[in-house]
Amino acid sequence: MTSGLARTGVIRPDPKDPSPLRIDEVLVRKMLVLFIRDEIAKARLRRAVVGVSGGVDSAVTVALATEALGPANVLGLFTPYRTSSGESHDHALELSKKFGFALEEVPITEQVDAYFAGVKEKVDKVRVGNKMARERKSIEYDRSWPDGIVLGTSNKTELLLGYGTQFGDMACGINPVGDLYKTQLRELALSIGIPERIVRKPPTAELWEGQTDEGELGFTYADADLVLYHMVDRRLRPAELVEHGFDAQLVTRIRELVRRNHYKRVMPLIAKLSLRTIGHDFLYPRDWEAD
């Protein structure tokens, strides 16, 4: 770690300066490995299950899990649909070889297609995508029984934008990467040895052919992350960001996505009736009496 004196000067919101997003990868790696180890032990479990898509988010998650628990206690699940690319498969396999965890392939084409074969109306591709995400997660949960936990792979950018399927890819027991923006996660990925071709390829949920995150969102992660950083981490109001030169349309759009999708980030609402209600005024920590 460098000297505390190294950080001088003020962090200013500047659309041309991505440096505030830089992280201390060594420190972050240490904190996340300890988080995985400690919180899994507190849940009285010993294994981790990670959906390995071949993308950078799950690559980082599974690599940290192998470091925390040992490769023998980590199961990677590659769950292709017929639209999944061969490249994703190769990348998942490459990660399994490099980090030493077992990788199982469980295709989901049959069950997803069988379900929609029985649906009469025209099905929007978003519905198919959501179904795939939930199908995958149900397999991860199944394979986690009886002594494993499902690790989340949703990063902070996705979580804030709500760019994920509720109870699908967003579902997990614990999430080690949810406080890292995509840009930061890529930086961490390179420092822990995730191959550059996995880190640099365009992010995609592969829910339909040709889908890319940035194409669908209409902005780049680099731009979104900087806006989110100043808006969320540094608490600047949208108007202040625009004053500092950020694109007004981008700022408005991002702010609206964050607001509109907040429901995905919180527990379902429970109607308050009694004198003491779960989530409202029955407030116990999750690590209740856990070692």
Partner: protein, 286 residues
């Protein structure tokens, strides 16, 4: 003649008082083996920190029988440990007790209860209302529980009242991972410890815990900073550690001779200034 003290940088379990008591006994035994006269545990060491509704479940009076093992163990060496105190009028406090020769000799109730950001102390606890010093073999001492230390007036009041040691039991969550610095929280705490130690010419004994509670990591990094501003001992970050260090009254005397800031301190001006602003009566007695 310096006095050896130990800091138990441990990871209490949340809401499991019995298990935490057993854990304390192990650290006390280790501190004794190391020749320490005092072992200091972090904030809420007997209960865990993010208690929420558990606070009421684990609360007990300062003389509750469940704390007897700590009192008993203090026949061997002094013990400073944290618990949830239920006062006689049934208020809950974040408390740090000091046990010596089988008795509770001092109790400090956390005055400043952070209730913002990741903190919710004020929802579950009532504030303490005093900063009293007390004496033990190591010298005159004041206790600043976590947020107490962040208020400049706390160590100031202790030093003004004659303390040469400020014990700062904490449960500090680690956050701030920007490149080009230390862990954000560590940087702030170290700045505080060194500043207070140097400018108040006291020993600052910063006692932080480790481990996780609901995804939040406590970062450790406990340290003993001497009145000359040097770090006499420092524990690693994030790992459990029994930190051993010496409190040297001679060093306090030397520093205060060299740098008599406390001797020259004008408490009367401070008091007149504050009293005037608050419209309180103040008689200067020369």
């Amino acid at each position: 003649m310096s006095i050896r003290i130990a800091v138990a940088q441990c990871a209490p379990a949340l809401g499991a008082v019995k298990r935490n008591l057993d854990m304390h006994m192990k650290w006390i035994a280790r501190a004794k083996t190391a020749g320490a006269r005092l072992v200091v545990f972090p904030e809420l060491s007997l209960t865990g920190y993010y208690l929420k509704d558990l606070a009421a479940d684990v609360a007990c009076a300062a003389d509750d029988p469940q704390l007897l093992p700590i009192a008993e163990a203090s026949r061997e060496l002094d013990i400073s440990a944290g618990f949830v105190e239920r006062s006689a009028d049934a208020k809950l406090h974040i408390a740090q007790g000091h046990w010596s020769s089988g008795k509770l000799v001092h109790i400090h109730r956390k005055v400043y209860l952070p209730t913002y950001g990741i903190f919710d102390d004020g929802r579950y606890f009532g504030p303490g209302d005093r900063f009293d010093t007390y004496r033990w073999a190591g010298g005159t001492t004041g206790v600043a529980i976590c947020e107490d230390l962040w208020h400049v007036s706390t160590p100031y009041l202790y030093a003004a009242a004659g303390a040469t040691i400020v014990l700062a039991p904490s449960a500090s969550p680690g956050r701030g991972v920007a490149e080009g610095g230390d862990l954000g929280t560590a940087e702030s705490c170290r700045l505080m410890d060194r500043f207070y130690a140097s400018y108040l010419t006291v020993y600052v004994v910063y006692v932080n815990r480790v481990g996780h509670e609901d995804g939040i990591a406590f970062w450790g990094g406990s340290e003993i900073v001497a009145p000359d501003g040097t770090v006499a001992a420092r524990a690693p970050e994030f790992d459990e550690d029994l930190l051993i260090g010496e409190i040297d009254p001679e060093l306090v005397a030397r520093e205060r001779a060299r740098n008599p800031l406390l001797r020259d301190e004008r408490e009367d001006i401070v008091l007149r200034n504050i009293a005037g602003r608050l419209g309180l009566p103040f008689d200067r007695r020369d």
